[in-house]
């Protein structure tokens, strides 16, 4: 493959178990023994060294981290037959989060989390800062996109039955991520501190307060007092850009670790092409092809 030559050696797709190791190197030159080795010029040697430099650097890192085994295992893992576009919703959600994180960092450079200055700083971002309206818009509309993608991803997982054993824990982590995403959307809404954000947050906090017994205290915690005040905004800002993003990043790591570890499911409409019953020992002894060669009725014997 041409592409393989572009990929540095440590990250190249491992050869299939049956394939010969020499295949990738290509045939030896015919004149290896007859023609005398020509002494390469200094410039040529330097060029060769330069060409090898990226691979050398990668090898240096790989020797010290042993990352290539993990990376090839992750990048070249098997996916089931029937994998389709619905399986990209999780990655799409991740991209939406990354977009939110990047635009959020740059918005934070201009935003002032103060009750008296927040509105003016948002107006400054929108009206004066170069591309400010675009970055603000990406963050604002991106939040809706992320919430929608989270729900679509959740629906895909539910309707494909991908939450079943052994992936229950990943479902649980996903639900926590859903809640954290909603927390982000809720806390972010107040930050522009215009009429809409103010009243939406008042209503949102009051809905929190209707929970019996703990509700009133939860409201006080969110507002940092009996009324929505100056500390409410900084509190929401800290939750929005420090507390919850950290938790989301950590949980996305766990979520993706489990995806790589457990693999993805085949779509439910795809029938298994191997017998569902575990192969008996005699079948395993027969070799790799033993399973497929066994007659369909024979599987019921075990």
């Amino acid at each position: 493959m041409k592409l393989d030559s572009l990929i540095p050696a440590p990250l190249r797709k491992p050869a299939k178990p049956g394939a010969s190791n020499g295949a990738a190197k290509g045939p030896a030159p015919a004149d290896l023994k007859t023609a005398p080795a020509e002494r390469p010029s200094d410039a040529q040697r330097l060029g060769d060294r330069a060409k090898d430099a990226p691979a050398d650097v990668l090898a240096w890192v790989d020797q010290r981290t042993a990352a290539s085994g993990f990376l090839t295992g992750m990048l070249y893992r098997k996916v089931p037959k029937g994998t389709n576009w619905f399986y990209t919703l999780g990655s799409a959600t991740l991209i939406a989060f990354v977009s939110q994180a990047i635009t959020g960092v740059f918005l934070a450079m201009f935003y002032t989390p103060s009750a008296t200055q927040a509105y003016a700083s948002i107006a400054h971002i929108n009206n004066d800062v170069f591309l400010g309206q675009l970055v603000h818009g990406m963050h604002k509309w991106g939040s809706s996109v992320m919430v929608i993608l989270v729900f679509l991803h959740m629906g895909r997982t539910f309707f494909f039955g991908a939450y079943k054993y052994p992936r229950e824990l990943n479902w649980v982590i996903g639900v926590v991520l859903l809640i954290l995403t909603m927390t982000m959307a809720f806390t972010g809404y107040l930050l522009p501190f215009d009429q809409r954000s103010f009243w939406a947050s008042v209503v949102g906090i009051n809905i929190n307060g209707t929970g019996p017994v703990v509700g009133p205290y939860l409201s006080d915690f969110l507002r940092a007092g009996p009324e929505l005040g100056a500390t409410t905004l900084s509190r929401f800002y800290a939750i929005h850009m420090l507390l919850v993003p950290g938790a989301i990043i950590a949980l996305i790591g766990a979520h993706m670790y489990l995806v790589v570890k457990l693999g993805t499911t085949a779509p439910p409409w795809l029938k298994a092409d191997k017998p569902k019953v575990a192969a008996s020992v005699s079948q395993l002894d027969a070799g790799v092809e033993g399973n497929g060669a066994a007659p369909p009725n024979g599987a019921s014997a075990s």
Binding site: A115, T116, V203, I207, G209, P216, G225, G229, A230, T231
Partner: protein
């Protein structure tokens, strides 16, 4: 069967109790705990104390506002002569300091009414915060009612709920007269019989068992005793 063999071995061992019990490895004479275990317990204990020393102040810092009550604040909103018995006058005053206009709130103020059998010569100040979810209600002169634009909550002249989703009457503000000026103070909520209770957030019921299900918060002021 392995079970039988185990039983036999056990019986054999029990039959020879006189064999000296060897010291467990890692124990020194007179010690009840191996050094490895002692260090494990100590390190975990110290680590726990160190972790608590970091986490507890941070958590306390975050939840402290729940238990903090701000300074009582009174603001003059106009001379007594401005207010009458049979209709409300809208006043705007600062309820929360430090956030500019966002900290201002609206109250509808009148004198107590003899016709409605209220205590004479008092000032009634009704908050415009809807008891459903906190939208601003408006006193509609023609209807004599308070009407909320969000979800259609309706309150009568005294602020009692007569329709829509609100769960209790409109909140009130404490009111007093100083030097001929009407002054408004902390917010308090009322039960459906207009008995004053501590301020509750919108959406929370008052009176009866609800006083326990939606307990009064330490951050609010005690209601007027009268």
């Amino acid at each position: 069967m392995s079970d039988d063999a185990d039983k036999q071995n056990g019986a054999e061992a029990a039959g020879r109790p006189e064999r000296p019990i060897p010291d467990p490895p890692g124990y020194f004479e007179g010690e009840s705990m191996t050094r490895r275990r002692a260090f494990t317990v100590a390190v975990q204990g110290i680590g726990g104390i160190a972790g608590a020393a970091i986490v507890l102040p941070a958590v306390g810092f975050a939840v402290a506002p729940i238990f903090h009550r701000g300074k009582e604040r009174w603001e003059a909103v106009g001379p007594v002569g401005d207010f009458v018995e049979d209709t409300y006058r809208q006043v705007i005053f600062t309820e929360t300091e430090g956030i500019g206009d966002a900290g201002k709130t609206t109250a509808y103020v009148r004198k107590s009414s003899k016709q409605l059998d209220e205590k004479p010569n008092e000032i009634v100040a009704v908050s415009n915060r809807c008891a459903h979810l906190g939208c601003p209600v408006r006193f509609v002169e023609a209807a004599g009612n308070f009407i909320c634009p969000c979800h259609g909550g309706v309150y009568d002249f005294q602020g009692k709920r007569i329709g829509g989703p609100p769960v209790r009457p409109l909140d009130h503000f404490q009111a007093r007269v100083r030097d001929g000026q009407v002054e408004l103070g902390p917010r308090y909520s009322v039960t459906s019989q207009l008995e004053p209770v501590r301020a509750r957030d919108p959406g929370e019921f008052t009176g009866g068992v609800w006083e326990y299900l939606y307990p009064p918060r330490p951050s609010t002021f005690p209601p007027p005793s009268g």
